[in-house]
């Protein structure tokens, strides 16, 4: 009996943890851009898709999966830099216009993906196999994803607190004119920040690729939920993403389990609406730490 309960608990924990981890991965990049730059990037889902396809291409040409993932992230980050220089930098402070332009970008990116990769869904098999815990099977890769989510959160924290770039970026967000006055070049910082956001989206795509179907429209399924998470989380990049993902992902998973995935989805959306109404500056707006 005990083993079975242990199994059930382990299974639930893994399941809920996975839901949360996926939300964290998917929204972290968006959160960086929103929190640090006030930009809403409607092409975020397509950056994610790009990362997934890049990983696919890497694996197909013979690279081991982890290397392919890292390379894919780098490629997407590089692409992010190009996009920032060409398009985004004209749109700071123009919220609606940035949404529109990135929407246009998303249309282009997803159709180009169809041209290059074809419209059918593709994928890589999930590595790792499964663990048996008290009568329940848990896929090893879901554990990997949970760990990866933590790792990325930690990495972003390290970047923002330990590197020169990180300190400058935070300064530039808090007091842009002051930062500029002490010699920080906001344009370079912004380019780097956008690169970071894009890279995180690419990493999310790379990590998700072995678990889902990779197709040019896969971004669409994530963009809405990523949005909700970011908005509920507020402008604190880490605290916001972590707190909101935990809350929303946990609720969605539990409600789905208790009833149907439809109600789980609906619950997430309704909860998000209520939270935004009650805490307009997001969860992180309530917390003291600003990062």
């Amino acid at each position: 009996m005990e083993a079975s309960t242990l199994g059930w608990v382990a299974n639930m924990a893994a399941s809920v943890g996975l839901s949360i981890a996926i939300l964290v991965l998917v929204s972290l990049g968006l959160s960086v851009l929103f929190g640090m730059m006030g930009i809403i990037n409607l092409a975020h889902g397509e950056f994610l898709m790009f990362g997934a396809f890049a990983t696919l291409a890497g694996v197909r040409s013979g690279l081991p999966l982890p290397i392919a993932m890292v390379l894919a992230t780098a490629v997407v980050a590089g692409f992010g830099w190009v996009v920032e220089r060409a398009l985004i930098r004209h749109l700071y402070g123009r919220l609606a216009d940035s949404m529109l332009a990135t929407w246009g970008l998303s249309l282009i990116m997803s159709q180009v993906a169809v041209y290059v990769f074809g419209p059918t869904t593709q994928g890589i098999p999930t590595p790792g196999g499964s663990l048996q815990v008290g009568g329940y099977s848990i896929s090893v890769y879901s554990i990997v994803l949970i760990l990866a989510a933590f790792a990325l959160l930690g990495m972003v924290y390290a970047v923002f607190t330990q590197t020169r770039y990180g300190v400058m970026a935070r300064a530039a967000v808090q007091r842009p004119q002051m930062a500029s006055a002490i010699g920080i070049d906001p344009r370079r910082i912004n380019a780097l920040t956008f690169m970071l956001g894009a890279g995180l989206a690419g990493a999310a795509g790379a990590l998700l690729a072995p678990m889902v179907g990779v197709m040019p429209t896969m971004g669409e399924a994530y963009i809405a939920r990523a949005f909700m998470t970011v908005v509920v989380g507020g402008s604190g990049v880490l605290t916001g993403a972590a707190a909101a993902s935990t809350l929303l992902g946990g609720v969605e998973n539990v409600v789905s389990y208790l009833s149907t995935p439809f109600f789980g989805q609906a619950a997430l959306l309704v909860l998000a609406i209520c939270l935004v109404r009650v805490m307009p500056t997001g969860i992180s707006g309530r917390l003291r730490r600003k990062l």
């Binding site: 059918t120 999930t126 499964s130």
Partner: protein
């Protein structure tokens, strides 16, 4: 006054760019097609569009219809339902086609139907769906649950598996097909221990897999649809469940799932369709040859939807020949008088009263090489449920869709 000018100019420009259709010579017969070639549904629509072009070419190469070539007008609805209404109108009113073939999802079919009916333009819906359409002006060539689900359930029961868990996409097709599964399973002496409806944009199945592990069914009956739902098979295999639960599915394969998944992930999944690329027969060999010539040997997989489209065009062409005219009522009469042929999937014929097809259904298992191995078949399966509720010869004015719960 100045302010009017830009607005008026733009208006006139927009209306005038609606150039009238190219002055059609008397010779070709105009036919129309609307499918989703871009957007989320192009996974299904692309193969259907390719099949459309190939079918027209094949008909024209054999001399056309009534000695006249077919001229195809095709529109891409971009996975947007509102465009279906628009393009259907266009085909009926401006291009004046003799027949419209199109629609991928049932929603798109329901968008086309009222337009085709109002303009008295014949309409063919060539795709598997939940069944029950009963409309004098409409013919469907796709397989329906009463043809497809019973064989699958029978196969599972015959192999000693009695506990079923149903996973269905959360929309009409999923709900109605799930109802059918329950009916057939109960009739065959099995039991359904759980049902879950998954919204179309969900790609994370953690909670579902948890529930499966608790319910411990013998069979998971999958009615999952779309690119996001592929993730289920992957996550199912990753959790190591394929060793103790058999998956049978009425939808696996339509979106080339077996191409995407690795053999380990897809191995053993059992499906039932009229058409598989691996079928034998002279007709299929010829069909595959022309397909390869047109689209290359690297084409992912020729889906059942593509062949449903192929069948539709050929049946229509035969009916027009039989009727001696493209007049809608005459063609309908010809179709109802019994038209059929030996197609790539075997013998198909139009079922007069229901406007569906009597066709063979093959059972197959996903294999090691991203394809299917045929393991059984049923010949000349009639659309049983449709026959029980729909008789368009006796009720020619009917134009609705029946569902199991509102059949009466």
């Amino acid at each position: 006054m100045i302010r009017i000018l830009p607005w008026l100019a733009a208006l006139c420009l927009a209306f005038l760019t609606q150039s009238p259709a190219i002055a059609a010579d008397k010779e070709p017969i105009m036919v129309g097609s609307v499918l989703d070639e871009t957007g989320g549904l192009n996974v299904y629509g692309k193969a259907m569009a390719d099949a459309t072009k190939l079918a027209i070419k094949s008909i024209n190469d054999s001399g056309g219809v009534l000695g006249r070539p077919l001229k195809l007008v095709t529109y891409d609805a971009q996975s947007d339902n509102s465009k279906y209404t628009t393009y259907a109108n266009q085909l009926a009113l401006r291009d004046r086609v003799a027949v419209i073939m199109g629609g991928v999802t049932s929603a798109s079919r329901e968008a086309i139907r009222p337009v085709a009916d109002r303009n008295k333009t014949l309409y063919f819906y060539n795709e598997q769906y939940e069944g029950g359409v009963c409309d004098k002006n409409v013919f469907t060539t796709g397989i329906v649950p009463s043809q497809q689900i019973a064989p699958l359930v029978d196969w599972a029961i015959k192999n000693g598996k009695k506990k079923f868990y149903v996973l269905a996409a959360d929309y009409n097709y999923g709900h109605i097909s799930a109802d059918w599964v329950k009916q057939y399973v109960t009739k065959a002496g099995g039991s359904v221990v759980g049902t879950d409806f998954i919204p179309l944009d969900v790609s994370e199945f953690g909670s579902v897999i948890s529930k499966l592990q608790e319910a411990k069914p013998d069979v998971v009956f999958s009615l999952l649809v779309g690119g996001n739902h592929i993730a289920f098979y992957r996550q199912f295999a990753a959790a190591g469940l394929s060793s103790h639960m058999q998956i049978v599915s009425a939808t696996f394969g339509l979106g080339n799932e077996q191409v995407v998944l690795s053999p380990k992930e897809a191995n053993g999944i059992v499906v039932a369709f009229p058409y598989f690329q691996e079928l034998g027969g002279a007709s299929n060999d010829k069909f595959r040859e022309s397909w390869t010539k047109a689209y290359g040997a690297n084409y992912p997989y020729i889906t059942d939807s593509a062949v449903a489209v192929w069948n539709g065009w050929h049946l229509w062409a035969m009916a027009v020949e039989k009727a001696g005219s493209t007049d809608r009522d005459k063609v309908i009469a010809a179709l109802e008088s019994g038209v059929g042929f030996d197609g790539p999937s075997g013998k198909v014929s139009v079922d007069a009263g229901t406007h569906h097809l009597v066709q063979s259904v093959h059972i197959a298992r996903a294999n090691e090489s991203h394809g299917f191995t045929v393991i059984g078949d049923q010949q000349s399966v009639a659309p049983g449920y449709e026959r029980s509720v729909c008789n368009l010869i006796a009720n020619p004015k009917m134009a609705r869709q029946f569902t199991p719960s509102n059949a009466n």
